[in-house]
């Protein structure tokens, strides 16, 4: 264990606040990794992680968010919410231009919100069901009017949730096949320069960016290196300066963080707040018995998994809401590692000891080892488990068709329990064919009602009280077995300043980044 402890120490020492004292120096180049290869950089069409990482420098939203998910100005320089919580008025920055020189105005916002994203983004269609009207009183003001108050609405304007796309290029065209998709045009701090397929994506500084002096970096390269070991080597040899979270395997992390001039950050993932848990198929015995589900929680040694498999990076989850998501509170009941309690619960329910199937997440070694550890933990309290190997496609298929007993997963919380948490627990979200909804088949009318009330309550304090109730109720029922708040550490050279300034991390922070020389 000493190895692990040592690496833990290094990480906590290095992860101290990287607040820049000195004056930013313009110039320089950042070399990053993008993994896997994005299939497109057109953020209005594709929003998965690799596309966000690159396209977040090209496209912008109306707002950015700090690490507590408080809104920060972006394309909107200021905003007001009416006291009844229904009208959101945004004042846009003046003098913003698209990368082709055309001005950015409220018309572009209306086109993006009412037209483009409605056709391309399922998530956006869902958000807009709450909106009665979007209007533009003048070229630099946009007003959203809601049907009823919805406090999380203010957290729906991030660059990838509601990216602004140019009306003059897309209006009246087939969005998916518009040739501009290959040379994306946004308003962001960096412009698309070139993409050598299989090698690197090159972005250059937007010289006419509307914030004076920004960005500082002259250009950014996103290198494509398909092999995990080679990505680690690319950092060690200096070809790459920044390893975004998840671009190297966990077992390489201690070695890389021991390098000279190397810093680690766990920040910049507050918007996503990935939470890992086990789906427990509540429809089937014995998972339909709450005592069994609680026994699973008690049986698992989650601290061991955190220390050994995740190098101590992250946190043991307390319940349905991740520690970095708004409205989180560590309420009771909690389930520390306690095999005796687990055994007692199983004895009480006369558990029959039939073997159960466990699907690991097919995302590499760490998850495979984790499944083995959980199997062992459960076996120790008398729950025999058979691990069933799958690949990504097979895993998606089986989970979304409910063909499993227990299955590993991790999901993003999207900045608010109403956006990223309730979908996994409310009964209206039980529907086959989707691996991200209420896959476990949990129904509790009290919880349904609480979630519904909490989503629509204002102000935030009232929501907090309701979500406290939700967390208590759900934690007592254990519909799924929560594992860890995951953190995918960003590994970078310490002379990179202000690398992560928002809740979306590297994805939309690089406009603030500069290199200390």
């Amino acid at each position: 264990m000493s190895n692990i402890l040592r690496s833990l120490l290094t990480i906590s020492v290095l992860a101290g606040p990287a607040v820049a004292q000195a004056q930013p120096i313009p110039g320089g180049r950042a070399n990053l990794i993008v993994q896997p290869v994005p299939h497109s950089l057109m953020l209005g069409l594709v929003t998965n992680a690799p596309t966000q990482l690159v396209a977040g420098q090209i496209y912008e939203g109306l707002l950015r968010y700090d690490d507590k998910l408080k809104p920060l100005p972006s394309l909107a320089k200021s905003w007001e919410i009416s006291p009844d919580g229904l009208r959101y008025t945004f004042h846009l920055n003046q003098g913003v231009t698209w990368h082709d020189g055309k001005p950015f105005t409220a018309a572009d916002v209306l086109f993006s919100v009412n037209d483009f994203l409605m056709k391309t983004q399922p998530r956006h269609r869902n958000t807009m069901t709450r909106v009665a009207d979007v209007g533009a009183p003048d070229d630099h003001t946009v007003v959203f009017t809601l049907k009823e108050p919805f406090e999380p609405f203010i957290r729906s304007f991030a660059f990838w949730v509601m990216p602004m796309v140019p009306k003059h290029i897309y209006e009246g065209t087939d969005y998916a096949s518009n040739p501009a998709n290959d040379r994306p045009i946004g308003t962001g701090p960096f412009k698309f320069e070139s993409w050598r397929k299989g090698s690197a994506i090159h972005l250059v500084k937007n010289e006419t960016y509307y914030l004076a002096g920004k960005p500082y970096l002259q250009d950014i390269y996103y290198h494509v290196i398909p092999d995990g070991a080679s990505r680690a080597v690319a950092y060690e040899t200096g070809k790459v300066d920044v390893l975004p979270g998840g671009s190297v395997e966990n077992f390489d992390v201690p070695r890389l963080t021991a390098q000279n001039n190397t810093c680690v950050s766990q920040k910049g993932q507050e918007f996503d707040s990935p939470l890992s848990f086990l789906w427990l198929n509540n429809r089937k015995p014995p998972m339909n018995d709450v005592r069994f589900r609680q026994a699973v929680m008690y049986a698992m040694d989650r601290q061991f998994a955190l220390d050994v498999l995740w190098n101590g990076i992250g946190k043991v989850a307390t319940g349905p809401i991740a520690g970095t998501t708004p409205f989180y509170k560590a309420v009771q009941p909690q389930y520390p590692h306690d095999p005796k309690k687990a055994k007692a619960l199983l004895a009480e329910m006369h558990y029959d000891g039939k073997p159960l199937r466990l699907l690991p997440l097919p995302y590499g070694e760490t998850w495979q080892r984790w499944a083995e550890a959980v199997k062992q933990n459960l076996g120790d309290v008398g729950i025999p488990v058979e691990i069933q190997a799958t690949d990504v496609a097979g895993w998606n298929q089986r989970v979304s068709q409910w063909d499993y007993d227990m299955a590993f997963t991790f999901l993003f919380q999207n900045g608010d329990p109403a956006l990223g948490v309730e979908r996994n627990y409310i009964s209206s979200q039980i529907s086959k064919g989707n691996p991200w909804n209420n896959v476990e088949g949990y129904t509790n009318p009290t919880v349904d009602a609480l979630f519904a009330k909490a989503a629509l309550a204002t102000p935030a304090e009232k929501r907090q009280d309701l979500y406290d109730e939700v967390q208590k109720a759900v934690q007592a029922d254990v519909p799924v077995a929560w594992l860890l708040d995951l953190r995918f550490p960003v590994i970078y050279r310490c002379n990179f300043q202000n690398l992560i300034t928002t809740a979306n991390g590297l994805n939309d922070s690089l406009r603030d980044t500069w290199i200390k020389r």
Partner: protein, 279 residues
């Protein structure tokens, strides 16, 4: 029988082979008694070096699992997969080869094209695809190994049967009006037994290697502790913990070596005519 053993024992390597093989077999049978806890149990701190703790002579792996226990429990898995998949390969290859060799002509042509077809696909790649698609499990692994390893059996049988077909005793059986099936089964096949046994032994060795390679790639049955799995799981930490990968590898090496030695010995003993000629 004694003549057989005398001939066999003349090959010292073959005797060593049989000794090692028996030891592996004993280890496989005794594993549950020697290490009653599951080899997956996390019993000590991770990365315990070997020879430092009497209870865990071969050290522990990334998760604190006993490597000695894994090696012991893995013996049975390797032998089982090796023998069963070879048996299955023989069951595919013998009929195809026998029919092709006996009937010749167009039947032979067709069956040999079929065989060639399987030989043209890279062996290991096909096995990887088969196991991945039918999900890694003991059954899918055995089936995949059988499917990629039968062609040599068919080729061997075809040659043997072709040679035997023209012999007097077969011709006599044909003339006496016996049906084709019984002729192949009773007259011809028993005479091909010796080379098949020799080839079979070698195939068991190859199957063990193939199984370990699949497990190494992460395509083993996730519920069964196999040698290849331990090596694969230890690969990423080889700089810190060489022992995780070393010991199971030695186990595979010894077992495969023993099988090959036994195969040679059998060849000498069963085919005295050919002895010292090939292989």
């Amino acid at each position: 029988m004694t003549a057989f053993w005398v001939r066999y024992a003349r090959n010292r390597g073959a005797v060593a082979g049989i000794v090692i093989l028996v030891l592996v077999l004993v280890l496989a049978i005794a594993a549950p008694a020697l290490y009653p806890r599951s080899p997956w149990a996390m019993v000590q701190r991770p990365f315990l070096p070997p020879f430092t703790n009497g209870g865990f002579p071969l050290g522990t792996d990334t998760m604190g699992r006993d490597i000695a226990s894994a090696v012991a429990h893995g013996a049975g898995v390797s032998l089982l997969v090796g023998f069963v998949s070879t048996l299955a390969a023989l069951l595919i290859g013998i009929p195809i080869g026998a029919v092709a060799g006996y009937f010749g002509g167009r039947v032979d042509d067709l069956l040999m094209r079929f065989t060639e077809f399987f030989q043209s696909v890279p062996n290991f790649a096909l096995a990887v695809v088969l196991v991945a698609i039918f999900r890694p499990s003991l059954v899918s692994i055995v089936a995949a190994i059988a499917i990629v390893s039968w062609p040599p059996v068919a080729r061997l049988l075809r040659g043997e049967v072709m040679a035997l077909r023209g012999r007097e005793f077969v011709q006599a059986a044909v003339l006496s009006g016996q049906r084709t099936g019984p002729i192949i089964l009773r007259q011809i096949l028993p005479n091909t037994l010796s080379p098949v046994i020799v080839l079979g032994t070698m195939m068991v060795a190859a199957a063990i290697l193939l199984e370990s390679a699949l497990s190494f790639m992460g395509l083993g049955d996730p519920n069964i502790m196999s040698w290849g799995y331990v090596i694969g799981a230890g690969r990423t930490v080889i700089r810190q913990a060489w022992w995780v990968s070393l010991f199971p590898g030695v186990a595979i090496l010894l077992t495969v070596l023993a099988l090959n030695l036994v195969g040679e010995g059998l060849n000498d003993a069963l085919n005295p005519r050919l002895s010292r000629k090939t292989r």
